[in-house]
Symmetry: C3
Subunit: 349 residues, 3 copies
Amino acid sequence: MLPAPRSYRLAELASELGLSYRGDGQLRIDGVATLSSAGPTDASFLANPAYRTELDRTQAAAVVTTAGVADRYSGPTLISANPYADWARLIGLLRPEPLIEPGVHPSAVIAADAEIPESAHIAAQVSIAAGVRLGERVSIGPGCVIDRNVSIGDDSRLVARVYVGGRARLGKRVIVHPGVVIGADGFGLAMDRGHWRKVPQVGSVNIGDDCEIGANTTIDRGAIDDTVLEADVRIDNQVQIAHNVRIGAHTAIAGCVGIAGSTRIGRYCMIAGASGIGGHLEICDSVIITAMSTVLDSIDQPGEYGSGIPARPHARWKRLLVRLGQLDEWAKRLARLEKSNKHYGSGKP
Amino acid sequence: MLPAPRSYRLAELASELGLSYRGDGQLRIDGVATLSSAGPTDASFLANPAYRTELDRTQAAAVVTTAGVADRYSGPTLISANPYADWARLIGLLRPEPLIEPGVHPSAVIAADAEIPESAHIAAQVSIAAGVRLGERVSIGPGCVIDRNVSIGDDSRLVARVYVGGRARLGKRVIVHPGVVIGADGFGLAMDRGHWRKVPQVGSVNIGDDCEIGANTTIDRGAIDDTVLEADVRIDNQVQIAHNVRIGAHTAIAGCVGIAGSTRIGRYCMIAGASGIGGHLEICDSVIITAMSTVLDSIDQPGEYGSGIPARPHARWKRLLVRLGQLDEWAKRLARLEKSNKHYGSGKP
Amino acid sequence: MLPAPRSYRLAELASELGLSYRGDGQLRIDGVATLSSAGPTDASFLANPAYRTELDRTQAAAVVTTAGVADRYSGPTLISANPYADWARLIGLLRPEPLIEPGVHPSAVIAADAEIPESAHIAAQVSIAAGVRLGERVSIGPGCVIDRNVSIGDDSRLVARVYVGGRARLGKRVIVHPGVVIGADGFGLAMDRGHWRKVPQVGSVNIGDDCEIGANTTIDRGAIDDTVLEADVRIDNQVQIAHNVRIGAHTAIAGCVGIAGSTRIGRYCMIAGASGIGGHLEICDSVIITAMSTVLDSIDQPGEYGSGIPARPHARWKRLLVRLGQLDEWAKRLARLEKSNKHYGSGKP
């Protein structure tokens, strides 16, 4: 059920958010928009002072921004020490999430012994297997499949078409977007007289409170021990997390990243899009990996790491590739020149 | 319902396609095949003259090709200025798409206020939420989930197991392959006293007419404004398109590409497989990105760009990596040699 | 149905596995664990002698390992020439797979002419189209969609939410994990007077016996001929296999790999994570591709190939990128130095 649209006076918004404001407290605000698209009853925000010139043209009713920016802007503002976070809270007020409607859709197929509290929402076409336990106010969207013995904590939401298996345990307030697969078998193979033998995957997945998992991401169950995401891990779309990976609390991982088996990633790390992280590595806390990087070694110092190569005009790039291929030969040429220089050009002409 | 198989005389095919032909117009053609696998009632095609030698061995009843190639080939031909496009049309004649069977499968769960025209096909296990509007002859395949207030234009087809949410609007004749997720939340996070705060994603997705979206691709809803694909954008499998990306008409994107948030890509671009494109960039019209490239800067000139490195034998590649790591030191050695050469070897021995 | 937990004496396990053992044959073993987490009734394994020190601290009831390792370990062991493969077999004994429960769930929607043997298991919310043929003991998990004329061989298992179309033929004992899409249209486009024209994809997919396909992987149907996986091909999660690719028997492909159209990969190849392989290539048998590599040329010699660049501290990497961009200029400087050296510093001071 979509909640009714909300409308606030500027002073009310400031009060709800615990912020001070400048301008007419009676201004009516009923929408959210970017600075450039805002109309006269929309709130907007400016977190990055580099975009300050956009303030000149905005029609926004009020702008969430810092005191420093507000000092140089004559329009109404909500003053924040962290404008982006307060902007997030403001959107939550003006565009509240759909309410969870308790109840089980008659088309859902639910095992007799599954524990489904009355406060939970089970949508159409859902399949819930034996031994599943759901917390209070859990919402399972259309087409989700919850396999045997999975447990999901209070207030978690599986949007739609999610698979959870491998006896996974999800914490509270976890959000899982469509197409996600949690707890499929890891990639365990033993070569046995010319054929692959599947190594049964019997570990589980343990996902902490407040995690969010983006669309079509996959998180495999552990081979023997568990795959673990600590609390507040945030994962974008199409990320692959292999068996027995462990990701520390508050780490954020952007789209298309792949993390190979048994790697441990620290807390407060940020991994940019499409990077690949090898198996059996240890990445310490507070590491930033830049986009399209290949991490093949453990990292024990916080900081920024990368190996992505920015694209160039193709003709130029092809020439550089030729040069790259010559480096081995260049090493010899350089050494030869230095030797020659030493013998004959070494200051004793 | 699968349409009955079709069979044509060569002259009929030529007439249907508006092409001229050479050879016996009464030849019967009832199949399509590659030159090497074609039997005596199959049509085939040759678009790239580089493969002309394959004509020598083909048993095809007739070959769609250019006049230039046909001049040097004695077998029956359909003469085309654009053989690959006419080949596509010919397949459409001989192997027509399954017909849309109007009607709603009884297992589908459809909100009372959803607008479903009688000409639409709703397959088994479909879930359609409140406020959804479907155009004429729309086909929603098995297991699809259409979330609140989505609209889908005439003659569009969601093959199976597709999720569409975020109030997305799809144009006419859009094809969406299985596993696609359109309109999931973008990856918006604000750090707030050591915890991530989710930035509610309230924008939508706007997909133009004649777009095609490959299997397991994800297209996020905008944060505030919309994510936009203009008309005739063609996207392969497992592509990730983040919030607020805008892709110009007629652009084609191959498999496994990731495009970060708020980037704008022009018209008639071609992005090869597994490339990554950073956020907040502007890529102009008619840009080609080669495979496995990393685009980190805006591009304002049409042309080909890349940064993919072709694989080499591993021992050789490891040596080059060592050399690459030495470049900083080499810069100094090179400068030293030049300095030394200038002083002592500068043409005044 | 989950089978009852199993318990063995050490001597029984040895007998079942055809291995010799050392230690007390009456030891009870009812679990599997890593060396570090094993309790006194768990079996464990040590395949890689590099981790031998972990034996010192393990509480495992018995360890599957080589005779060489066992000679230097005083605890109970199961002696194996291939500990990892025998470990896989041991897990299968102690943690047997859930049994297939024959029967069709009443919520499944199955075409009248589909051939479903009585031994097959069809779970909730499954959709099976006309012309589908399933072998004995096939298991189709919840939410799967099997499109027209697909055939699936004996003892294959589609875990959940799998799509199979394109008239695909799956062999025996194939395992397909959740979210997989087999047989969607390949990416075939012809530019026709400024618009893309879809090239109908009429080929199929042919998957051999004993293949395993990881979660959210996509395997497109062929354009005209088939896409082929030979027997015992093992594919991890989120792999993209384009139309008309052919993969030889016993090849293993790790997560996030993309393979472009019409490429042929040999037998016993191993392709590490997130690598990209271009189209229309021939990769011979027994090729290893290292992680995050870009394969743009055919390979006709077995061995290891790669082009992944290990990440470095970002400041250092940025410097190297500057150097990389200078290589073209360096080539000239190096040549100039050599010329100068030859003329003036060539051993005739």
